[in-house]
Symmetry: C2
Subunit: 204 residues, 2 copies
Amino acid sequence: MKLSFSPASPFARKVRIAAIELGLIDKIEFVPETVVPGQANEKYSRVTPLKKLPVLMLDNGDVILDSYVIVEYLDELAGGGKLIPASGAARWKVKSDHSMLQGMLDSMLLCRYEQMVRPEPLRWKAWGEDHWNRAWSGMARFENQSDMLSRPFDVSQIALTCVLGYADFRFSDCGWRKAYPKLDAFHEKMLARPSVKISLPPAA
Amino acid sequence: MKLSFSPASPFARKVRIAAIELGLIDKIEFVPETVVPGQANEKYSRVTPLKKLPVLMLDNGDVILDSYVIVEYLDELAGGGKLIPASGAARWKVKSDHSMLQGMLDSMLLCRYEQMVRPEPLRWKAWGEDHWNRAWSGMARFENQSDMLSRPFDVSQIALTCVLGYADFRFSDCGWRKAYPKLDAFHEKMLARPSVKISLPPAA
């Protein structure tokens, strides 16, 4: 299997952490890829017209996306029910938490594109603030959700770790640790895992 | 159960079609909701900080998101394996196709926000074109994927129907029927289903 990858992508980091935790990291060849919004990226657009990272390319030619479906696929390869509860209310809770965190990451990337990639005269403050607020109030939601911080390791905890790591990477002045001390404690706890530590984004 | 809903949302339409096909439509109360990008939408942001439609609110207070996870949940309620194959390669194919279609819809919405919602002097042509091209070349992918147009009814076919309906609704001059005749035939076939016909977006 091959995975399109960038160390700066929080979505690719999620899959990398999952692959390590599931014991599958040695089965995956990481293929470096760079995608620039607003440009054609023609080669990678033949792999996926969405031009998003990561996708998993199987040996038979099938392509699996998005990052969440890849984690589900790897989880099943590893026997199932490892990072996503196999049934019951916990399953829907983890999936819904993950969807919220995925949406927060989407908003953080839109916010970064607005502030850093879009030509300066074309920036719309209300749009950037709206998307930052979605991520920020999402963090508040998880600060007050005690089970997230204590329950067994799962894909939504990986996603929360990637949200916080991306906040450090691209919004280093946002002050999330001061605003959300329980998330800070959660993040410190996650950093004890080699999978989390080795996959920290590069220096910005 | 309650579902936050707008007849203009292609994501909400997907859940509505699924609920009808699964025989669960009478169990769901549709709660009208309007979300304007770049505005606070304070009331709905207390339901979900992402402020995206739809979310499913269960009677016990749990909230299920996003639209795909809601369809999975409803599919399980209906016995499982109805709109998403329960196992095997077909399962990952349908999930990956759905993820691609979901990304195409995300790009179409970004394109619309760029062209219609963002103040005119702040529009960035390259960004809008990039996102339109993701959707357009995604359609080309499905035009050439014959199994999508012939396999048993599933969630990715619902999503493709919603992509094409949204193209008619918001990009009525794009000419997808002429460019993609197999998708046109697919869409006509889908329109024979009452669930698809009743959920067509309103006149733009």
